[in-house]
């Protein structure tokens, strides 16, 4: 009966990011959501629990205000959550998040299996999972699209470019999952209402053994933009010719 940890991130919902006139991103009226692939991670953990028993603990690192994220995650089936929160835990880099998770997990959580999303919806750096596994000294299987437990090992199907890679890894292990692994359930009303009644272990920066410095510096961030040229071409031989030439001139065709 495995004890499973599932890591999730509460991220800005990209649908709410506006683009200012200069191309700068405007975050003033954003909403937050569970990072997309982390939903798959939670679903995978909960399905394994439904199959094999055991426990599921959802772990997140973030700012103290992210309580809605905890409820969202817990409404999807984990038994309890571990909320690593501090005002400074905003815009963390993957290396910082992984280091914090490492200390929290080593210090206070039992586990056989850790499940992460392949990457987060905001940065998609794909680093937290592998870094965490490395720091914990356990095997890491990434790009997992199918997962089962077989005694004291996992069987994981990896989605790789030229096919499927089937791997076995000894527990304890860590996997990062891709959305193909499942279709996450939509919590029902009672699931959501019961979420706030589940146990939440709160861990703050003061409880942690280290401080976690960033290694990167973000120089700037701008939106991709698409402008219409509003050129129309007639649908005849000459028009098509002119269209192809225009595309070539724009560098779209080479």
């Amino acid at each position: 009966m495995p004890d499973i940890i599932v890591c999730f991130k509460w991220v800005i919902d990209e649908a709410y990011i506006r683009t200012g006139s200069s191309g700068a991103l405007d975050f003033r009226s954003v909403n937050y959501k569970l990072s997309d692939y982390d939903r798959n991670a939670i679903e995978a953990a909960v399905r394994l629990k439904e199959e094999c028993g055991g426990t599921v603990t959802a772990v997140t690192v973030g700012t103290p205000g992210a309580t809605k994220g905890l409820k969202d995650a817990l409404s999807r089936g984990p038994d309890k959550a571990c909320f690593v929160n501090d005002q400074s835990f905003d815009n963390l880099e993957p290396s910082q998040t992984a280091a914090i998770l490492t200390d929290v997990i080593k210090g206070r959580l039992e586990y056989d299996l850790i499940i992460c999303g392949e990457g987060s919806s905001d940065l998609y750096a794909q680093q937290v999972g592998p870094r965490l596994a490395e720091a914990l000294g356990i095997p890491c299987v990434s790009f997992v699209q199918k997962l089962s437990i077989d005694g004291n090992r996992i069987i994981a199907e990896r989605k790789v470019e030229e096919g499927i890679n089937i791997m076995a890894a000894q527990l304890p292990a860590l996997v990062t999952v891709v959305p193909d692994i499942n279709n996450p359930r939509i919590p029902g009303v009672k699931d959501t209402l019961m979420a706030s009644k589940k146990e939440v272990i709160s861990v703050t920066a003061d409880d942690l053994p280290a401080t976690y410095e960033p290694a990167l510096q973000t120089v700037s961030m701008t939106a991709a933009s698409m402008e219409r040229n509003c050129i129309t071409f007639p649908a005849d031989q000459a028009g098509i010719q002119a269209f192809v030439e225009a595309l070539a001139k724009e560098g779209v065709l080479r």
């Binding site: 959501k33 309580t67 809605k68 409820k71 969202d72 409404s75 939509i186 919590p187 029902g188 009303v189 009672k190 959501t192 209402l193 706030s196 219409r228 509003c230």
Partner: protein, 379 residues
């Protein structure tokens, strides 16, 4: 003043949005076209506890508040207003009637399976000769031994052909006037009760509407809901609750009209630029967004007042009236923004336009809402 939803309310609205995108959007056009009651969809709604949100857990509900129910009806209606309405009348009127007026036995027997979504409720008040003028009803219930015997013809019963528990209003004492009508729960299959064919309607097509015929229909005394003679007052209380749902349904329609109008106007290029950059179009969209918010404030306030235990019939009437008229106005504009493309089947705004009209008619016409509001303020 606090304009903030609880985290639960926000999450549930979001979850219903996702549910509707996954389960309702794909079938909405088809169930409209075929006037089909999507039983499979209602099973899924039941499984997610969406069919009895404000009903206490001990009676099969989810035990949340009425505002959450309204938010859910709004999000459902944004995808399919027939479905939103069916949930609204089932919960807001049928379930609420038993919750508010039923005895313990009736709550166990009738409310619990309805709040779980296993059984569907229907509200049977309107008659061919008695629409706005409820008092003109002629259906009677006569006590005979341990049964009441119902006779009469009802019409426009939503969920008529598909319901399980029918809440039927009939005179037990016509002479007593406003204190002479009573309400009975008549389960499906009761001999003497028969549903007619479902009407072919302009909009709200997947909601099943029919006549209900009662011919010497015997219902046991235990199925009298509330006190004898209290029926009319109960129906009015049912309307107060139901109207918040109709307001929410209308808001869902406006939101969908706005979604479609924004999308289309940004994509459709005429005169060398997207039509959204024409002031005439942009202003239609501004008005739509404004009325959507105004309607929300009215509807959410009414729901909030209900949750606070305050009297809210005037506020519910205002919310329903405003949102319904705004839905009709703005779906007209949404079709306008789409031009010819909004006039053909397959365009969502075409369905929204047809679906909007009913919100000005049922659970009291717009004129009837003005009677309620003026009656309150002129008192």
């Amino acid at each position: 003043m606090d304009f903030k939803f609880t985290e639960e309310q926000e999450l549930l609205r979001q979850n219903m949005r996702e549910f509707a995108e996954a389960n309702v959007d794909p079938i909405a056009a088809e169930i409209d076209e075929n006037s089909r009651h999507p039983a499979e969809l209602f099973q899924k709604l039941a499984a997610g506890d969406w069919m009895g949100i404000p009903i206490p857990v001990e009676y099969g509900g989810a035990g949340a508040d009425y505002l959450t129910h309204a938010l859910v009806v709004e999000e459902l209606s944004r995808s399919c207003s027939s479905t939103g309405f069916t949930v609204s009348i089932h919960v807001g009127i049928a379930c609420m009637l038993v919750l508010l007026f039923g005895n313990e036995e009736q709550k166990k027997k009738f409310l619990t399976p309805m709040a779980k979504g296993e059984k569907l409720g229907a509200f049977v008040l309107t008659e061919p000769g008695a629409g706005t003028d409820v008092m003109a009803a002629t259906t009677t219930a006569v006590l005979d031994g341990n049964d009441y015997v119902l006779n009469g013809v009802k019409t426009f019963t939503s969920n008529g052909p598909t319901g399980d528990n029918y809440f039927v209003f009939a005179w037990t004492d016509k002479e007593a006037g406003r204190k002479g009508m009573s309400c009975f729960v008549v389960p499906k299959g009761t001999p003497g009760m028969q549903a007619g064919e479902h009407f072919k309607k302009m909009g709200l097509r997947s909601s099943q509407t029919s006549e209900m015929l009662f011919k010497d229909c015997r219902v046991p005394k235990e199925n009298l809901l509330g006190k004898e003679g209290a029926g009319l007052a109960m129906a009015m209380t049912g309307f107060d609750h139901g109207r918040i749902g109709i307001a929410a349904q209308s808001l869902g329609i406006i939101q969908a009209a706005l979604d479609e109008s924004i999308k289309w106007s940004k994509e459709r290029v005429q005169f060398g630029k997207p039509i959204s950059r024409q002031q005439a179009i942009a202003w239609m969209i501004a008005d739509m967004a404004m009325d959507l918010d105004a309607g929300r404030f009215l509807a959410y306030r009414a729901a909030w007042m209900k949750d606070q235990g305050l009297t809210f019939s005037k506020e519910a009437a205002m919310a329903k009236l405003f949102a319904a008229e705004a839905a009709m106005k703005h779906t007209t504009k949404a079709v306008q923004i789409h031009g010819g493309y909004g006039y053909v089947k397959g365009a969502k705004v075409e369905r929204l336009f047809r679906d909007a009209k009913i919100t000005e008619i049922y659970e009291g016409t717009s004129e009837a809402q003005r009677m309620v509001i003026s009656g309150n303020v002129l008192r």
